[in-house]
Subunit: 296 residues, 2 copies
């Protein structure tokens, strides 16, 4: 595991847990369902990227000005996992080695828990981010909103569904559009929100976004490769699923070696975008390596 992630995980886990303070008995069930998925572990890549980007521009670390944005990013990511796993979508029973949310709570509550996590993500960052110019917090809200909508997670997922039925007619361009929007936009928002809350200029935010776009695509290529090569036990989710549903993947379009080369190229471009920041970018660069080298 990456040292920076290991260092930040306890802070992030605590902030995630602290984000639920409700003790209203009527909300017990939905809060249980939300926490079941939000607190299910995982590498917390998005919160870590957010905190690392913030630290490039701000000296304040404990608490980071971006800690609540980091929590909101994980809430959004968790919402997308809960909804993607539904029988009406990918119909997955297993996630991070545990039964998926709808298996435990039912499809209806899983849908509502996702909706609640999504709305709470906006409330959380707007309500709890203190000591930052409100205009910067609004900018964060805008970016979080954009990365879920038609040019974000949901739009990417719909294009993915449309392309699933098209078999070999899916081009590399389609695949890149899907992954840019399904995966990369949330990573772009992660570093952009961190940078903005740390005080970055628009140009600096833009450089961070380029970095994350490239990492995001590399992340997805690595995921496609892992789906072909790792076992269900190693992944903590159903392996070989892409091939089972005849899904277009990078290994399929480029071959396994081609996909590996593509991932390396993307990581190189990501690192290049960080060059202006020199030493300050050390944590983000190590995270880029971690993403391409990860075994699960």
């Amino acid at each position: 595991m990456n040292a920076y992630i290991l260092n930040k995980l306890p802070v992030i886990e605590k902030a995630l847990d602290d984000s639920f303070t409700s003790d209203i008995p009527e909300t017990e069930r939905i809060v249980q369902s939300m926490k079941y998925s939000l607190m299910a572990g995982g590498k917390r890549i998005r919160p870590v990227l957010c905190l690392a980007a913030c630290e490039m521009f701000s000296d304040q670390q404990d608490p980071s000005p971006a800690i609540h944005a980091a929590v909101s990013l994980e809430m959004i990511h968790t919402m997308s996992l809960i909804h993607d796993d539904l029988p009406a979508m990918d119909n997955d029973d297993l996630r991070r080695g545990k039964p998926t949310n709808h298996v435990v709570y039912g499809d209806d509550i899983a849908i509502l828990a996702g909706d609640a996590l999504l709305s709470q993500s906006f409330q959380n960052v707007a309500q709890n981010t203190v000591g930052v110019d409100p205009a910067r917090v609004l900018d964060v809200v805008i970016r979080l909103g954009k990365c879920v909508g038609p040019v974000g997670l949901a739009g990417g997922q719909v294009m993915d569904l449309i392309c699933e039925g098209k078999g070999d007619d899916v081009s590399l361009q389609d695949l890149q559009w899907i992954h840019t929007h399904k995966t990369a936009t949330l990573l772009m928002a992660s570093v952009a929100c961190g940078a903005i809350l740390g005080g970055a200029t628009p140009e600096e935010v833009e450089a961070c976004e380029q970095f994350a776009l490239k990492i995001g695509l590399a992340f997805q290529v690595a995921d496609d490769i892992l789906d072909c090569t790792a076992s269900t036990e190693e992944l903590g989710k159903t392996a070989g699923k892409d091939e089972n549903v005849d899904k277009t993947t990078y290994p399929k379009l480029l071959g396994m070696d081609g996909a590996r080369a593509e991932a390396e190229q993307l990581v190189a471009e990501a690192k290049q975008a960080m060059e202006p920041f020199g030493e300050r970018a050390t944590a983000l660069l190590a995270l880029a390596d971690f993403i391409i080298d990860r075994k699960n």
Copy 2:
């Protein structure tokens, strides 16, 4: 139809339509699905309440400082309708006289269209509200977020699902909790957001919220009464559905006359909350009458 609503509808419909400017071909399908439900008509009660509340405190009318908040409120309401209608939830095929979103686009796209509308609602109000102190816009974001989460729409819906199986064990208190959170909180947010963007003080915002809480509950009592008395054709949705699924309703707990009296009492309390505003509250008071007198 209420005169204030008739007056505001063209402005609201145009603002709703204008909120989609994307011409990216890859987003065509999801945007179609979002617009299908968002532009399906309806009384636009929430946007109208938002604009009317704003006008109590601001002279600026065209455009209203609250027009984008009004659009966001309708996006949130539409998301909740799309998700509620899903087979995994209420399983309704008909809404406003048209096939529901998932009947036309499939369950998967309907779920994603709801997610996209929800996230776009936050982006929209944060990005497009101009000429207002950013701290006030953040306050609006917080209230919109809260009214969808565990102490809002989603929490109310989960309690509703839990109570559906309990038959006669559901108390009037449970029913009020459900309707406060399923229905009233979004109306409260509608007037609160309008008032805040119009420049209201916290005490004025609080009075508007009390008004909307009472209207919201009255609205739900009226809805329960209509479900018992109106035909499917009149409603534009399946009538008698509550009784079919053995749902606890106000008429069931209080009798039809008791339910009617409860609705009138709630409207009287709503009007009382508006007394401090005198003439300025005329539009909101007429809306309260419209809500209790509506035939569909």
